[in-house]
């Protein structure tokens, strides 16, 4: 009960934040009713997907301070579980969703147990490695379609809420918007919960955290599992939304880096950070990609831009855009 109240309690934020957040929430709710292009709709859906990816990443990467660059492997597990179950056994999305999340979380325990013996850069590198290994496995595993991937067939009449198959994107939009709000309220509880404080203490000073009775290794594994559940859920959605999945687009290093980058750009370790990051980067990625990629043939330009952003964050404000806002506010206050 206390947990539920805590999830809906945003009272520790200043009123301006809540006004902005409320306005954004209303906009998100009515967006499909406003006039928009299908490109804008696709961008909004991607924005919501990356927000939820980022929220998940934020638990371990932001609050826990463990830079995780291997989240794509869990996107893949979620996406493939849903796709395989739908294609082979006709299982509805809402059943395969929790199964995919459970499989991903189980895998995250297997990976997390040895990985969290490492810290800092070594941990980050190891997460990349595990993700790439899993991608390679999927690329040569014929049961899941190997490198060609899987194509989900149309299951009867649309709109099909059971299998998440719609002709209009607005349906997908509201499904992922639901995920978005569930994630937001969950994270709002998480950051004020025992595990949330314990993780922040570990980030502060791990030795001190352990002297206060926190099993830091286990706490990190738990947070990693939470992050994984978020990411796998969106992975399952991704499979239904795209109808077509392959290792290259669900498990690539690019995706892992983008997830971490959005959360870090917006502000790792803050509630709004991942949302801000996704709101900046997703439209930029799509519109710049469309503009340069198609017209000028500058295919690698988006990568150059991401790399520059990483350098700017690292050099000037490790807490990202949210850190910048906080600093400006404190400057004005004093």
């Amino acid at each position: 009960m206390e947990a539920l109240r805590s999830a809906f309690d945003f009272s520790d934020f200043p009123r301006t934040d809540l006004c902005v957040a409320g306005t954004v929430a209303v906009f998100l709710l009515i967006f499909p009713l406003l006039p928009h292009s299908s490109f804008a709709m696709a961008t909004m859906i991607q924005f919501l997907m990356f927000s939820v990816y980022g929220m998940g990443w934020n638990t371990i990467g932001g609050y826990g301070g463990q830079v995780d660059l291997g989240k794509a492997q869990y996107v893949g597990i979620g996406a493939y579980t849903s796709a395989v179950m739908m294609i082979r056994w006709d299982v509805p999305f809402w059943v395969s969703l929790p199964v995919g999340m459970a499989l991903a979380v189980a895998w995250s325990f297997i990976i997390g147990y040895p990985l969290f013996r490492l810290t800092g850069h070594y941990f980050a590198i190891a997460t990349i490695a595990t993700s790439l290994i899993l991608k390679d496995l999927f690329e040569s595993w014929s049961f899941v379609g190997a490198a060609r991937g899987l194509k989900i067939p149309i299951k009867g009449e649309m709109p099909n809420f059971l299998y998440l198959q719609f002709r209009q994107d607005a349906y997908y939009y509201y499904v992922i918007l639901g995920f978005f709000f569930v994630g937001l309220f969950y994270l709002n509880w998480f950051r004020k919960s025992r595990i949330g404080y314990q993780l922040r203490c570990i980030k502060d000073n791990e030795e001190m955290a352990r002297s206060l009775g926190i099993d830091s290794h286990w706490a990190k594994i738990k947070a990693y599992a939470v992050a994984t559940a978020f990411v796998a859920a969106v992975g399952s959605f991704h499979a239904c939304y795209n109808f077509n999945i392959e290792p290259e687009d669900t498990m690539s290093l690019d995706l892992s880096v983008l997830i971490a980058l959005m959360a870090m750009l917006g502000g790792a370790g803050s509630l709004w950070g991942p949302i801000i990051g996704a709101a900046v980067l997703v439209p930029m990625k799509n519109y710049l990609g469309a503009f340069f990629g198609a017209k000028a043939g500058l295919v690698g330009l988006d990568l150059i831009i991401y790399a520059s952003i990483i350098m700017v964050i690292a050099a000037f404000e490790p807490r990202g855009i949210w850190g910048l806002i906080t600093r400006l506010r404190q400057g004005r206050g004093s």
Partner: protein
């Protein structure tokens, strides 16, 4: 039954014997000082007891249980609190949140942890600092906050590692009152490492002296400063040979508080 019992403890880092064959016991309700020159192995001994290191030989008993080699978080759960000589805060926790983390050892409810932490901060005169980031505080306040977090876990035994280092005279006085309060009112057994002799000598019931990793003397504060081996450890052998008589005389004449420095 002693609260803490250390038997033949040794800690070796490669060829360096940081602790060798140390045995002592701390009874419930005691306040024990641990002194010794720099590098004599005091912090290593604390780390062996608190589970940061696993001793290479010997054993540690806490509340009658053999706890040798237990991890530090397990020791905290058994009722051992500690502070660190050097504390670096990298994150963004504020004072209240830091103390709440300690409270979370015994409760999983955020509202209870918050109430407990606020009460503890009020008792320790830290309420005004509750919203400040720990990293931004002056040393004296930081040391109190770290102590408050350790106290929030409700330990039976508190190990304090140089809580008075870097403090001025007024702050040392406050720290002494704080340790007295912890010991007398919270009824927590305290063991402290300290170079500020005034503090050790006036607070401790009993003082242990380490030198080169060995326990060379043990006794009440007044008698410990007269022991030739202790004087030798601090002042060097030649000095004692030349000025031994004067030093002994000075130590014996002076009131306990001014034995050193």
């Amino acid at each position: 039954m002693a609260l803490l019992e250390v038997k033949g403890l040794g800690m070796r880092f490669g060829g360096l014997h940081a602790n060798r064959d140390i045995s002592f016991a701390v009874e419930q309700g005691e306040l024990v000082g641990l002194i010794g020159p720099n590098g004599s192995g005091k912090s290593t001994l604390f780390n062996c007891i608190a589970g940061l290191y696993t001793p290479t030989s010997g054993s540690v008993f806490f509340l009658g249980k053999d706890v040798t080699g237990r991890k530090s978080y397990e020791m905290a759960r058994l009722g051992l609190g500690r502070t660190f000589q050097v504390y670096v805060a990298r994150g963004d926790l504020n004072v209240l949140e830091n103390v709440m983390v300690g409270c979370f050892l015994k409760t999983s409810s955020p509202s209870k942890a918050k109430a407990q932490a606020e009460a503890l901060l009020a008792q320790m005169n830290l309420t005004e600092l509750a919203r400040d980031r720990v990293a931004n505080l002056p040393v004296a306040a930081q040391k109190r906050v770290v102590m408050a977090s350790a106290l929030a876990t409700k330990p039976d035994l508190l190990l304090l590692d140089e809580v008075a280092a870097g403090l001025n005279l007024t702050e040392i006085d406050e720290m002494m009152n704080l340790i007295r309060w912890v010991h007398r009112d919270l009824k927590i057994t305290v063991m402290l490492i300290e170079h500020v002799m005034e503090l050790v000598m006036s607070l401790s019931h009993r003082v242990l002296v380490l030198e080169s990793g060995k326990l060379i003397a043990e006794g009440d504060p007044a008698s410990i400063v007269c022991k030739p081996e202790v004087i030798k450890a601090y002042l060097g052998e030649r000095y004692v040979q030349e000025h031994g008589a004067e030093v002994l005389e000075a130590a014996a004449c002076a009131p306990p508080g001014n034995g050193e420095n």
